[in-house]
């Protein structure tokens, strides 16, 4: 079986943790937040608000670090920061991204997360999971009459998945050389 075509990890010994310089863990989430907050101010870049870059960054680090605790931690941090900047009750994105980070790390241990197809599918699935969770929290905790637009969410999931693959490819370049 060709290595490039392998999706599942056979055993735990094949699980390899990617390592990054420390500044990457601060700079990349910060830039993701900044892009999410700053660019939609301009009419030309209004579409950026539809792309959840903090979510993609959470998925990436959770997958690549292959640590549920680290994935959870980065999800909490990015989620709470996003809540703080978006002027909504703190904890909404925090909860969603905490779960996404945790489950991403869990899934990352089972799959070859450097495979483009695996990345695309995971981004697609976790985006939908994130949106669904957020919708549930809105209705249950905040008692807001939120609607779930499945068609729009599916399209956005595809878009986010494609952008996520490209972003992951770029972030791979920041890995420390072993």
């Amino acid at each position: 079986m060709d290595h490039s075509a392998r999706i599942m990890v056979d055993n735990a010994r094949e699980v390899r943790r990617a390592t990054y310089p420390v500044w990457v863990f601060f700079a990349v989430p910060l830039i993701a937040l900044l892009i999410q907050v700053y660019l939609p101010l301009f009419q030309t870049f209004a579409f950026v608000s539809r792309i959840d870059l903090p979510l993609l960054v959470t998925i990436y680090f959770a997958l690549m670090r292959r640590s549920q605790l680290r994935g959870l931690g980065i999800g909490v941090a990015l989620g709470l920061a996003q809540d703080s900047l978006f002027q909504q009750p703190i904890g909404m994105y925090g909860l969603c991204k905490t779960l996404v980070g945790y489950f991403s790390a869990s899934v990352g241990m089972q799959f070859d997360v450097e495979h483009a197809l695996v990345r695309t599918v995971l981004c697609f699935v976790f985006y939908l999971f994130h949106q669904f969770l957020y919708w549930v929290l809105q209705r249950s905790l905040l008692d807001q009459p939120a609607m779930l637009n499945i068609r729009a969410d599916l399209i956005l999931a595809v878009v986010n998945a494609v952008i996520g693959v490209a972003l992951f490819h770029f972030l791979d370049k920041l890995r420390s050389r072993e």
């Binding site: 900044l34 809540d83 703080s84 703190i90 904890g91 905490t98 905040l142």
Partner: protein
């Protein structure tokens, strides 16, 4: 117990994190309050970077904006330069028009104060050769111009008509070697013959040694050549040298330079006296323009009446004065000279016309009955 916690450490942490956030949310929703500290951290982390990016963006935008403005300013500058060039040309053309109008005004003034009947003409060409200098004017035989007629400008004589065509005439310039005219000095009335020498000056010949001619003195036409009427300015003496028999006098013609565009052809010459004073500068006076800085004075009933422009009185010969008097007397009786057959009733030249041959305030005398001409003796059969 510890091993169980360690074994389920991840899920425990997850549950704790979820529980903490749910509590946080519940607290916010229930108390309708915020958690400013967390927001302050997030905003503090993001704001400086966003501010820096915004500064860079503004700088970049400003740079490109300035570049575009500079480009536009450059384009605008080119347009303004082209506009300036166009306006300069337009201004030059207007100046030329103004000069033409000024010259026309001068000619009209000269015509008014000169008794000779004149015809205005435009110089349409010149033929400056090695040994001849002539002008081409746009008046010919159809306008009444005939060969030998004098051509002048207010500043002096220009030449005489050499050849006449139907619609144009060739004028021999005063500086042409073939040109000659009788002249007379202003102060001592020394007579001589003006001749061109081929360049911008002329010479006065046949002035005997010993006759007093001064440098700077004006020469006028003497009328002896029967071309130029007496009293027209000719030129100023620039040098006088004594010879064995005759003096060598060089004159700078005053009319040659002014004859650039418009001239007057003397159709009917009338002699005039040579003035005692040299001719005044014939520049046209222009009143100051009415501008906001120079508004017109308000009309006042006490203000003195504006003075009419006073032209220098015409200097006329006795014959000229008499002819003028007869013309006016004839006009008073509505007589047209040149009409009427021989033997018809002439005008009454003894009629007293105020301002002509009687004081201006005198009542006009009733016209005497015209004298009937003596009837011709009937031929006896």
């Amino acid at each position: 117990m510890e091993s169980i916690l360690y074994r389920y450490r991840n899920i425990t942490v997850l549950l704790m994190a979820i529980f903490a956030q749910i509590v946080l949310l519940a607290w916010q929703v229930r108390n309708d309050s915020d958690i400013p500290l967390v927001r302050v951290w997030a905003v503090t982390a993001v704001t400086p970077v966003a501010s820096g990016i915004e500064t860079v963006r503004n700088g970049t935008t400003g740079f490109f904006s300035n570049y575009l403005e500079f480009k536009n300013a450059r384009q605008q500058s080119s347009q303004l330069k082209a506009e300036l060039d166009r306006l300069r040309i337009e201004n030059q053309l207007l100046k030329n028009d103004l000069d033409s109008a000024q010259r026309a005004s001068e000619l009209a003034g000269f015509q008014k104060r000169t008794l000779s009947k004149m015809l205005g003409a435009r110089v349409i060409g010149s033929t400056p050769g090695a040994n001849s200098r002539s002008l081409l004017i746009d008046r010919g035989s159809t306008s009444g111009v005939r060969r030998g007629m004098a051509v002048v400008v207010p500043d002096g004589i220009v030449g005489r008509v050499l050849t006449v065509f139907p619609l144009a005439s060739q004028v021999l310039s005063v500086t042409d070697p073939g040109f000659a005219a009788g002249v007379e000095s202003q102060k001592n009335h020394v007579h001589g013959v003006l001749k061109g020498v081929g360049n911008s000056v002329a010479r006065v010949d046949y002035v005997a040694t010993g006759q007093k001619v001064e440098v700077g003195e004006m020469f006028y036409t003497s009328g002896e050549d029967r071309i130029f009427p007496k009293g027209l300015p000719v030129g100023k003496v620039t040098s006088v040298q004594e010879g064995s028999n005759f003096q060598d006098i060089i004159v700078e013609p005053t009319g040659a330079e002014s004859a650039a565009e418009e001239v007057l052809v003397i159709l009917d010459p009338v002699h005039q006296a040579i003035p005692d004073a040299p001719p005044a500068e014939s520049g046209v006076f222009l009143a100051p323009d009415v501008t906001p800085e120079n508004p017109p004075a308000p009309a006042s009933p006490d203000a003195p009446a504006p003075q009419t422009s006073s032209l220098a009185p015409n200097v006329m010969t006795t014959a000229g004065k008499l002819m003028d008097q007869y013309r006016k007397i004839g006009d008073a009786q509505k007589h047209v000279y040149g009409e009427g057959l021989p033997g018809s009733i002439p005008p009454n030249f003894n009629l007293k016309v105020p301002g002509v041959n009687a004081p201006a305030d005198a009542a006009p005398q009733a016209a005497a009955p015209p004298v009937k001409p003596a009837s011709a003796p009937q031929p006896k059969p």
